[in-house]
Amino acid sequence: MAVLEQSETRILEVPSISKQGLGWARSLAASLLGLLLPVALGVGWELAVRAGLAEGRLVPPPSKIFETLSDLAKSGELETHIQATSLRVFVGFGAGAFAGTLLGAAVGYSAVLRRIADPTLQALRAIPSIAWVPLFILWFGIFETSKIILIAVGVFFPVYLGVLGAISSVDRKIVEVGRIFRLSPFALTWRVLLPSILPAYVVSLRSGLGLGWMFVVAAEFMGASEGLGYLLVDGQQLGKPQQIVAATLVFAVLGKTSDWLLLATTAPFLRWQDNLANNSG
């Protein structure tokens, strides 16, 4: 009987492996397909410039962009700029997400607080965050503080809104189970509310992080002596479009990487979700 079972499992395993392998190849092919257009455009432009069909001064060809990047990397400048920008985003995101989580949870939990604080916060949200820049410069000077606060403000609102919305949509029936088991308010928050808002929370953190990268550019436009935003301004003032494009490329890579890191750190806590991603495995 045992032998029979084993042989059966073996037979069953074979097609599943080949299917998995096929699926992997297919997804690779799909992402390669997505690369086709940008690579074709890049190569086309490179050839056009080389052949003298286009000038390529304002729109530099890929080779020039990569040359600029490698020059910046060699001189160590690139590292300095990446470090400066990433640190700003990191600290600003941390502060904004922390405040957004705390206030969102408090306002979501207490009806009284909601009536007191939410209208004000919603009104503040209606102000385009960049409009704070002049005031922040007057208040906090032109150095790091004002930059980080601007980023934190940008991150704060999506996180606040996300937590607030998630808490008010927690399933009452699940909360009732917590009451049956006579959980204290703290235990109810920690064991029921927090895990049930986690998926929505991660989404709001991701959009907050995206805004963090957006606002770091605005902050560095305010006047910075280092950072990728500085590279952009510098490239514009000295007429170096290849430097501008190089900096935007670095932004894209950093933004994508940080988003991926956020997803990867939270993924283990969200394995329980009944969604497409978890069921296709």
């Binding site: 029936k173 009732e176 189970v177 088991f181 006579r182 064991r191 895990p195 329980w272």
Partner: protein, 251 residues
């Protein structure tokens, strides 16, 4: 002994869901509460569970008034209400956080074995069928070793086969520690198959219309003539209560 003294519940809008309900349910009894939808069955159960406060009257458990959820009163809802972020084992152990993880593990193993889900401990709730989920929710209540178990239409969302299977399973589990069971249902067969005593509620506002002893010995044969006889009696009482209600509304 679970008792209610002239229990009533009127909702803030002025809607009277229950009026002067007085019940006495002895230890180890299985009480079925039947009634049409909207007769306040679920409201009654929520009052017994201490989830809602009555407008009038009181609930007593073994001589003590019950005003909030009580540690020895377990509740099983119509939906399993499992925490989707916890595995089956963690769900079952949800109320055992005061124990050491070793003790918890032993109790969880024992109860999972009793409900026949020992191999499903590491699954997520989303991977379970409706019947399995409800078994987990029964296990979650049983693991607390309750003296009273309140069930709010626990099997109504399941298909007919699973329903009968789980009803029988519930009786087997009851045989073990003989807790008091209070089962709210709109399914007359379920009420007769499970209950040793049966309360028929009439609507608007919910009141007790009739009380029956179910004299059938266990295990009960659902297709026997005597079973059918009991069912008919309950049906007649239900019909009468509805008829009375209609007369009042018409008159």
């Amino acid at each position: 002994m679970l008792e209610t003294h002239s229990l009533g519940k009127t909702y803030p809008g002025g809607f009277a869901a229950l009026e002067s309900i007085t019940l006495k349910i002895g230890a180890g009894e299985i009480a079925s509460i039947v009634g049409s939808s909207g007769c306040g069955k679920s409201t009654l159960l929520r009052l017994l569970a201490g989830l809602d406060r009555p407008s009038t009257g009181s609930v007593w458990l073994d001589g003590k008034e019950l005003t909030t959820p009580h540690p020895s009163v377990g509740v099983i809802f119509q939906e399993p209400r499992l925490m989707p972020w916890l595995t089956v084992r963690q769900n079952v152990g949800f109320g055992l956080s005061h124990l050491s993880s070793e003790e918890r593990g032993v109790r969880i193993d024992a109860v999972l074995e009793r409900v026949g889900l020992l191999d499903f401990g590491m699954r997520w709730p989303r991977e379970l069928s409706g019947g399995q989920s409800q078994r987990v929710s029964i296990a979650r209540a049983l693991v607390m070793q309750p003296t009273v178990l309140l069930l709010d239409e626990p099997f109504s969302a399941l298909d007919a086969f699973t329903r009968v299977e789980l009803q029988e399973h519930l009786l087997e589990l009851w045989e073990g520690s003989k807790p008091t069971l209070v089962i709210v249902t709109h399914d007359i067969e379920e009420a007769v198959a499970l209950g040793s005593r049966l309360f028929v509620l009439r609507p608007r506002p919910g009141r007790v219309a009739a009380t029956f002893e179910v004299p059938l010995e266990r295990p009960r044969d659902r297709v026997s003539a005597r079973f059918g006889e009991e069912k008919r009696k309950v049906l007649a009482a239900l019909d009468k209560s509805l008829l009375d209600d209609r007369k009042i509304t018409a008159g």
